[in-house]
């Protein structure tokens, strides 16, 4: 078993209950595990929420954590995956002074080459959106920061797995 720390995504399918975020984050907190990113959204199943949590830890420990998470009454199922086993995206938003768009030709090239999307433009600022891997967003950040970024924010990682997660089948079984 791998005893080195690496990034894992933990995907948790849950009933949509108030307070569950507290319970789940406490599991990580108690063990002094820093959550690198966290996303909670509806899943493909009606009434079922999905947590996507990125953590840096060993395989042995991530397995134990999964056990503790699944123990929570409202957790339907939890999985963990390495980054190679998933397809993921992160989204970054950059707010930049509008004058730069017109005065710095290079910025237009950066936008084009990075496949970033202009979300909105007004007199004062424009907003760029870039989805991709963490490094791609970091690269765009580096390039833009030369010119000055007014605001920058990045989402948590969202992911789907390459392999099928048999969660619907599982739920069907529970319902019967």
């Amino acid at each position: 078993m791998n005893t080195e720390k690496q990034l894992y995504t933990v995907s948790i399918y849950t009933e949509n209950n108030i307070g569950l975020l507290n319970r789940i984050s406490a599991i990580f907190q108690r063990r002094h595990i820093n959550i690198e990113s966290l996303n909670i959204s509806p899943s493909e199943i009606d009434g079922v929420a999905k947590f996507t949590i990125v953590v840096n830890m060993t395989e042995v420990n991530v397995k134990k954590i999964i056990g503790q998470i699944e123990k929570q009454v409202e957790v339907i199922k939890a999985y963990f995956h390495t980054l190679e086993e998933i397809i993921y995206q992160i989204s970054g938003l950059f707010k930049i002074k509008s004058e730069l768009l017109f005065e710095e030709r290079q910025i237009q090239n950066i936008i084009k080459e990075s496949n970033a999307r202009i979300v909105t433009v007004n007199k004062e600022f424009f907003v760029l959106e870039k989805s991709g891997r963490k490094e791609e967003i970091a690269e765009l950040y580096d390039e833009l920061s030369v010119y000055g970024i007014m605001q920058y924010t990045r989402s948590g990682l969202i992911a789907v797995t390459k392999e099928e997660m048999k969660i619907s089948a599982l739920l069907k079984k529970y319902n019967n």
């Binding site: 849950t14 009933e15 949509n16 209950n17 108030i18 307070g19 507290n22 319970r23 406490a26 108690r30 397995k63 134990k64 056990g67 503790q68 699944e70 123990k71 009454v73 409202e74 957790v75 339907i76 739920l171 529970y174 319902n175």
Partner: protein
Amino acid sequence: METQTISNKEISSKTTQRISGSEAIVRCLIEEDVKIIYGYPGGAIMPVYDELFKYQDKIHHVLTRHEQGATHAAQGFARISGKVGVAIATSGPGATNLITGIADAQIDSTPMVCITGQVASHLLGSDAFQETDIVGISTPVTKWNCQVTKAADIPGALAKAFYIAKSGRPGPVLVDITKDAQFEEFDFLYEKCTKIRSYTPIPKTVAGTLEAAAKMINAAKKPLIVWGQGVVLSAAEEQFKALVEKAGIPAAWTILGASALPTSHPLNVGMLGMHGNYAPNKLTNECDVLIAIGMRFDDRVTGKLDEYATQAKVIHFEIDPAEVDKNVKTDVAVLGDAKVTLKAILPLIDENSHKEWHQEFKDLYKIEYEKVIKDDIHPTKEGLTMGEVIKEINIQSKGEAAIVTDVGQHQMIACRYAEFNKTKSNITSGGLGTMGFGLPAAIGAKMAAPEREVVSISGDGGYQMTIQELGTIFQQKAAVKIVVLNNDFLGMVRQWQQLFFDKRYASTEMINPNFVAIAEGYYIKAKKVTKREELADAVAEMMASKEAYFLEVCVEKEGNVFPMVPSGASVSEIRLE
């Protein structure tokens, strides 16, 4: 959002009745066959108390003297009855006072439902008078909790609470109910909860694991069974005994497993852990197959983990999958309810006796007897020992009493020397080690099993943490026998100071009050014993009493509990002196 829904078909076949949320709470308890609850009133739970007044012929409410006492009493009740214990409290300080008992119940897997009143929902989050976020506070120490702000959600939430508390690996749950929800009227209908989509109380036994375990057990030359409370919680005592006897395997217990197999059983080789017996601790590191049943490899049991039974193949019978491989890596995990899995494995087990291996336990017992036990229970030097008091209680109760202990040296001594002839006879705070547990837990135990002799054994320290519950004993006429082993010290801490802090007794000496006068102040018969010659008669008088009785025994001030596995050491480094 609640997930427990009742299908329309079921609703149409039942009649509903318009009642208030607070009445619904009481009716839910009645539906769950709750007959005794422990609690303390206050503003945010008053509507419920008013209903309890109305329904007092159905539910007996016990007014404890502190909410902590209510939780411990509910725990004592649950531990001896196997049913869910119920505690109620008002919002704010009432609710926070429950937390110690809830945390204790969580780590010791005790089924308990706590109901707390909460400020009206429009005040939530405003730091209103007596508002605390009890759902947030109790989250890490409950199996499940929720807040109800609408009367119509009360039956669903309580049904779920009882189901979760008692199913699978039991535990405490908390339901916080706002005052407006208690006043609101709605159409009451109660349906017991029998399943929750996201919750699997008992995991499926993985195919082949029973066979693999049986094969390993049958091939073992030096097998050792270590059992815990799981055997008691799944009521598997009979199946467990059958397995132990058929396979002829020496079996040792964790503190919460005590009494599942009688002390006198020839294959019972004693207690594991820090102050456990010499043989099972030492031989843990010599067995070839370690069979753990309903226990979770607590660090008090394993000592230094990387030197724990590393030579042995490990089989783990366990209901909670998260416990498997948590501390000790297993070779075969038999998931499921112990009663079911033990029954299923029995036909696969060969008859055996392991005579030579068992002899090794007897040999080590002899060493422990000479070095420790003899002086503990048949002392010749001056000063009463805790051990001889326990021995006297054994004699007078014929080993039939339920022993409820507090936390400290007396707890270890009581567990080491008490004779447990019946299951569910050892009620103690294991995982949390909560001082103050003993006295209120004894009240709950006695009320759950009035036909049993319940003896509470406390130290002078822990006793004073919940001494006010003498008031509850008096008011309830609960005939518990209270023994305080008074060494004028916080004995267990003093022992550590002696052994590991150069005898610097920082803040462990206690100047104690007149305990007899305090008990008598509560109209409880009381006696104090200072000499060996007085002990037997005093214990006899206590046991003969039909009412509650308080006995203070002044024991040697600096007695120590041995054997001992120093913390952080391996179990085979167990010390006899």
